[in-house]
């Protein structure tokens, strides 16, 4: 009978083993998919038990707060809609409400512990109030300047990477989002799409700054080199036209007048690899520490034909960039070649109006020589003083800028403008795009001008 018992014991042992394997299946293997299952109420219940933190701008103006009835209010409205986004049980989430949901719903850090405790006690916990680097007034100004046209503006403080405004137009009304959802999703102007961070546009002539940086970093003597512009350039039998016949022209003049010939020739001289390297160094080459999605340069797939290379060098062809990316190009040049990681979150606090700065060392990196940046600055200054960027000119402060008119398959050229000011110690760098609006100098530069003026407090 003992041997029979042993067999039965073995069967029971196997059954207990099966129990442990099944536990592993439900708790570990299927764990994450079950936690995210739409019918699972646990995550929602955890968040429901928490008073969501508010979102404030750099001057502590409210961008998103709760009223006494527990409704989420967005005092800033459409101008920051794509940036602030939404957090909804039925629609999911977007923007800051999604990216910093962990903080807003108090799931991390000290508040997370205290909230678990509150939940146990049956009282409601609270999330962190967030202070963004955004300036609400600047944000509204830029949005109104776009005036409903499709476009985007990104303004950044070049010295520390703080994003001053992230504007995408058209926006939407966040407060009755659920009722209007189908209108927004069906709208061909894509109001729910964050053009400022995720838009992929041909950068047009603003990309010449990157080409110039790559060339000067390779050899500073490119500054003295004399080019000749007959009004076009021939590459392998194809003609690339220039805006006019510039004649003898150097690099700084090429930037000021946005001469295609100069940069097509520079691009051909540099080759695809050097261009790609420089372009990528403006992007997010470190781990995304800040935690918001953004689109950086993409240059298409090498090897590039000579034609493709010449087109890329003037910001057409396969090269694509987001407004954030172009703002970073301007900021880096303004910051003497030091790239600074863009940040959106300035401080967090568990008590209203009291914020603790986030202890985070910004990622900085010298991505081009100081001399290179200096020469590019001169070019951008010249563009504003006597070149294509003249509409941005302000009295009392020196502005550096670069225009772009990006040809695209959707109609008229996209109007681009990138700038920073004041030239010697920039406080703001900006990139503006207005879709299918025409020339950068005519359509985008005035927006940059007003925003710079506002930010620097000029009358």
């Amino acid at each position: 009978m003992n041997s029979n018992l042993k067999k039965v014991q073995t069967v029971i042992f196997i059954c207990f083993l099966a129990i442990i394997l099944a536990l592993g299946y439900w708790q570990i293997l299927k764990g994450s998919s079950l936690r995210l299952h739409p019918r699972n109420r646990y995550e929602a219940a955890i968040q429901d038990s928490i008073v969501r933190g508010g979102i404030y701008d750099r001057n502590k103006l409210p961008l998103a707060i709760n009223d006494d009835g527990g409704n989420r209010l967005y005092p800033i409205g459409a101008p920051a809609s794509n940036l602030i986004g939404y957090h909804s049980k039925t629609l999911g989430g977007a923007g800051v409400e999604l990216w910093f949901n962990q903080l807003l719903s108090g799931q991390g850090g000290f508040l997370g512990l205290s909230n678990s405790w509150q939940r146990l006690a049956g009282t409601s916990g609270k999330g962190y109030n967030l202070q963004l680097t955004i300036d609400a007034e600047l944000q509204k100004l830029g949005y109104n300047l776009l005036g409903g046209r499709k476009g985007a503006v990104v303004a950044i403080d070049p010295s520390n990477g703080e994003l001053l405004s992230v504007i995408s137009s058209p926006g939407y009304e966040m407060e009755d989002l659920e009722a209007n959802w189908s209108n927004y999703t069906g709208d061909t102007n894509k109001p729910l799409f964050n053009r400022a961070l995720s838009g992929a546009y041909p950068p047009g002539s603003t990309f010449k700054l990157v080409v110039g940086a790559a060339a000067l970093d390779l050899n500073l003597n490119y500054q003295q080199k004399e080019f000749y512009c007959p009004g076009y350039v021939e590459v392998d039998g194809r003609y690339l036209s220039c805006s006019k016949e510039h004649g003898k022209i150097d690099l700084i003049e090429g930037l000021a007048l946005s001469c295609n010939v100069v940069f097509a020739e520079l691009g051909l001289a540099l080759g695809g690899e050097l261009l790609r390297e420089m372009a990528q160094s403006f992007g997010h080459f470190d781990s995304p520490g800040e935690g918001f999605p953004a689109k950086y340069f993409s240059l298409g797939t090498p090897p590039f034909s000579k034609n493709a290379l010449a087109e890329t060098a003037i910001g057409q062809g396969q090269v694509l960039a987001s407004p954030l990316q172009m703002a970073l190009v301007a900021a880096t040049i303004g910051n003497n070649g030091v790239w600074v990681e863009p940040i959106l979150l300035k401080a967090a606090g568990s008590i209203r109006e009291e914020f603790e700065p986030l202890a985070k060392v910004p990622i900085k990196r010298q991505i081009m020589r100081t001399d290179t940046a200096q020469i590019l600055k001169e070019g951008m200054l010249a563009a504003v003083e006597w070149g294509t960027g003249w509409p941005v000119k302000l009295s009392g402060v020196k502005v550096a800028g670069k225009t772009g008119s990006a040809e695209n398959p959707h109609g008229r050229a996209h109007a681009w403008f990138v700038a920073f000011a004041p030239v010697d110690k920039p406080q703001i760098a900006i990139a503006v795009i207005v879709e299918n609006a025409g020339t950068g100098g005519g359509q985008a530069a005035p927006i940059a001008r007003e925003m710079i003026k506002f930010h620097l407090g000029l009358r």
Partner: protein, 426 residues
Amino acid sequence: MYQIRRQEAFLLLPAILTLLAGASLYYLLFPVQENRLLFVVAILIGCGFYSVSLLMGRYAKKAEQLIFPIMAMLTSVGIIILYHIDPGLAVKQCIWTLIGLGCMALVIVFFKHYYWLSEVKYITILVALFFLFLTILMGDEAGGARNWLSLGSFRFQPVEIVKLLVILFAAAYLNEHKRELAERPGSNFLLSEWHSVGPILMITGLLMVLLVVQKDLGAALIIFALLLALFYIATGRLWAVFVGFAGFLLASTITYFLFAHLRARIAIWIDPWPLIDGAGYQPIQSYFALAEGGLVGMGLGMSFPGYIPAVATDFIFSIAGAELGFIGAILLVFLYFTISRKGFKIAKSAPEDFGFLLVCGLTLLFSIQTLVIVGGILKLLPLTGVTLPFMSYGGSSLVINYIMLGLLIKLSSLFRLKEGSMANEF
């Protein structure tokens, strides 16, 4: 002469600390007058544990020392989880624990001989059948099964007692007939031993029919598996196990077509997801709870037990999985497995076959019941509403489990005392 059982006394400490920690947690959260009662109850139960241990030092000196602390630990974890589900239930469970401990003490003190149990086997099984008949005639229905008996304001589930009685009968019967039933070369199964096989076959059939009529399919499954395993241990006839299994499948198929509520159970076992708003709601909420637990759990008292219907009885293990995580759940499973292993070890120390079969039966019942409910929760088996020993809320189940394992522990002491002597004298 009282003798302190050092290992047991030491291992009881974690259980009592668990209770005290639980009481502190809930008192800190809700510092109201009533919650001071939690400390009183924790201390009372702690005293109960040590009293029983002390009694064993006097009346069951050589008894096994690991099983009782594990019982205490499982009970304590169950009570703490119940605090969170419903403090009222937790208080009742505490009272039931004290009653269970009292019953266990009676078994330890007064149960001095065991062999007489084999002499009264037909009375035992008649009492069992009587209980089942009574339940069918006068029982109350709860949760789809008609398996409650009320005596005034006192309600209990007779099936819990029936399980114990069936073990007593089966152990005695198989001991008496083991020679005729055992596998011999050239024996012609079922025909030549008809007079031995017949009665147990009939009684098994009768039990199954009575349980199925009550719609207590979980108990039917457990008792059948128990009898089959015990039959195999006694006779070594693998053949009979296959025949029995085939018979069970056949009977299940017939039941499947007869009872809509079994069809529903099978349907949610195969795929609960399309039925999420109906019958599948309960198991799916339990899967969500388990998933939410993940590796390390949400923390004791941090889950949302309100989402799972019948959480205090059938699904307490899901809440344990949610709050203690994979690691905690494995530890619990390990505790159950340890009782099972120790039980079979005690069986092997029996001086004669009735004691051996009796302890095998008790251990099998405990193991099978655990496997059936946990396996049901984890979708390894169809769900049947049976209790998880020591953790589920339920007076009858808790008390009977204390009595059964008390018996097991007492037997371990008797076996050691009587080793080498003629067992049949008792």
